[in-house]
Symmetry: C2
Subunit: 353 residues, 2 copies
């Protein structure tokens, strides 16, 4: 389906209805618009890769959160990487690869504040670093990598020698967190679903151990693998895995709340972690964060991440899906753990060679 | 029953059996021992007031925690205030009032490390400050006041103008927390059970508002009273009240986990706070602490608390029960909220005038 759209059509996926529980094929609807044009001071971007992220589920509820809800009838909000095809802005030249708030569509004209960097830091248009694969700007060099970096290092504050446990360790954020924790000198245990993912974590990413929550008893394995307790637990999952990890938190331990993928599609709020009382006796802390708050440090963090990729210390794990039609299915698949690493959807090759 | 024990008998309450669920009259058993004697370098203390504390419930479970479990057959562990009646130690003179690890009994001979201050900081023998009522050393000037002080100021870190919500606000720790938060320039809302307690919080302690969880809907009242969210929630209670408070946590808010009295007697672990996911979007933190970790700052904090008492800014709220026979019942009453302020049991007047 790649590159087949007529050049004067901008294909879009729009929010058709607010989902109850799990997303399905009626959640989003296809829509065709005329191509937008770049006015004075503006640019036109051809999207090549679109992001799908577990957190998107939360944006579909009509509840104020760290970002406003996506409105019914609006193009689905998403980060994208694309190529500048027209530019009336001094910072951009046709052919540049940029990441930004491109949404689930073929083309977009970023708003002025996204170009100037004065708007919401999570939605700025930025150049893909020279030498990087464009798609990396949605993963290891984008908000995913930055989320892993600041969540682990600033909220989790690992010390060398600490035992760090990561849930969703084979996912987009988790796989970067686990590798940064290794770089920081920690003992790292990943929790993931399935033997293949677990083998990948230990054999390819170099984790010290992995727990397959689908076939193993997580509490018992954590007891065996973290006999002195967990110093940092980085949670992408919530539910019983969070409960099990708090039950083994070490004195002064830190629980980093990044996400709760097990709960995003629940129709009623599932019970919280019953073991939270352990935080008292263990003088431990559980803390949430939003990566946007670190916008003033994005540049240095991106550079560090890129250095580690270039050194071979940080492996890039991408799960690239194909085709504009497949975007909703690519998102839905995240909630059953279909992905290994960061999932993106490739919708077009760059038009300018 | 006060002062009627024969002078050569040391009455004790010992742990008779590990409770399942709520404590009852078979949990503790009376026992008489001969009077202990003070050896070289030791002192003999006549206990006058004994402490009863909600956290004691946790010490009765056979589970390692921030203190070791009380063993079956052992005298029940408790802080006490008493008078030195014999001294072979240079720091103490007969007639001195001291607080320390006196347990539920008439007399005790503290261990050497409790006298020297080199043992566990929670179990040191210390002089009651001159000018203070001896019983205050179990409450506002003891571990209760110190718990309120460090939990609120060091973990909660309130700023002037913050909205601070305290659960168990009419209890021993909560009533001190709420008053320190007022001294720190905060808007303070207390949650307590019953109209009388709520009136006492606003009219006597000067809180800005109080919520009666027995007759009011806590979530709705928090929405009305904290329209911009809760900056600091100091939790002594757990359960649905914790859930309701997290649901309204402000951006960057702090949940101080001090206790969970609603859960201490549960036979199965109740569900945790389902609203914990709010901590992510609000970049909020939930953190436990144990007062013993602040032992090196006890002196300055006790002085501050005493200054505030002397200034009339911190009201001392004591609930004094009478008689050695009534100690277990005094403890059990805490779990139904029978107390207003810090409950202690008076078992004897000081023998030395």
């Amino acid at each position: 389906m790649t590159n087949t759209s007529a050049s004067n059509i901008n294909q879009q996926w729009r929010l058709a209805e607010r989902p109850t529980g799990m997303l399905d094929e009626s959640t989003f609807a296809r829509h065709d618009e005329p191509l937008p044009t770049a006015g004075p001071g503006e640019i036109l971007v051809r999207n090549c890769y679109l992001s799908v992220d577990p957190a998107m589920r939360g944006w579909l509820n009509d509840i104020p959160s760290y970002v406003p809800p996506v409105q019914i009838g609006a193009v689905m909000r998403a980060h994208t990487v694309g190529q500048v095809v027209e530019s009336n802005h001094p910072r951009f030249t046709p052919g540049d690869f940029v990441s930004g708030p491109g949404d689930w569509q073929d083309y977009y004209v970023p708003r002025q504040e996204a170009l100037s960097g004065h708007g919401d830091p999570g939605f700025a248009v930025t150049q893909v670093p020279p030498g990087a694969q464009p798609s990396w700007s949605l993963g290891v060099l984008g908000l995913t990598g930055l989320t892993a970096y600041f969540g682990l290092l600033d909220v989790g504050r690992p010390h060398p020698g600490d035992t760090v446990v990561v849930s969703g360790a084979a996912g987009a954020t988790g796989s970067v967190v686990a590798q940064i924790a290794k770089i920081a000198g920690c003992r790292v245990i990943g929790i993931a679903g399935g033997e293949d993912k677990c083998r990948w974590l230990t054999d390819d990413l170099g984790l010290d151990a992995a727990i397959d929550y689908k076939s193993e008893r997580v509490r018992r394995r954590l007891r065996e693998l973290a006999p002195n307790g967990i110093d940092v637990f980085f949670d992408n999952v919530g539910g019983p895995i969070l409960d099990a990890a708090i039950a083994r938190i070490a004195q002064g331990g830190r629980v980093v709340l990044c996400g709760a993928i097990s709960m995003y599609n629940a129709t009623a709020l599932p019970p919280g972690p019953a073991t939270y009382v352990q935080l008292i006796g263990q003088r431990a802390r559980m803390e949430g964060f939003i990566v946007f708050d670190y916008a003033d440090q994005y540049d240095i963090a991106t550079q560090r991440l890129f250095d580690w990729v270039n050194d071979g210390r940080l492996k890039v794990a991408e799960d690239i899906q194909e085709g504009f039609d497949n975007i909703p299915a690519a998102l839905i698949g995240l909630y059953s753990g279909a992905n290994l690493g960061k999932r993106v959807v490739h919708i077009a090759d760059p038009p300018i060679a």
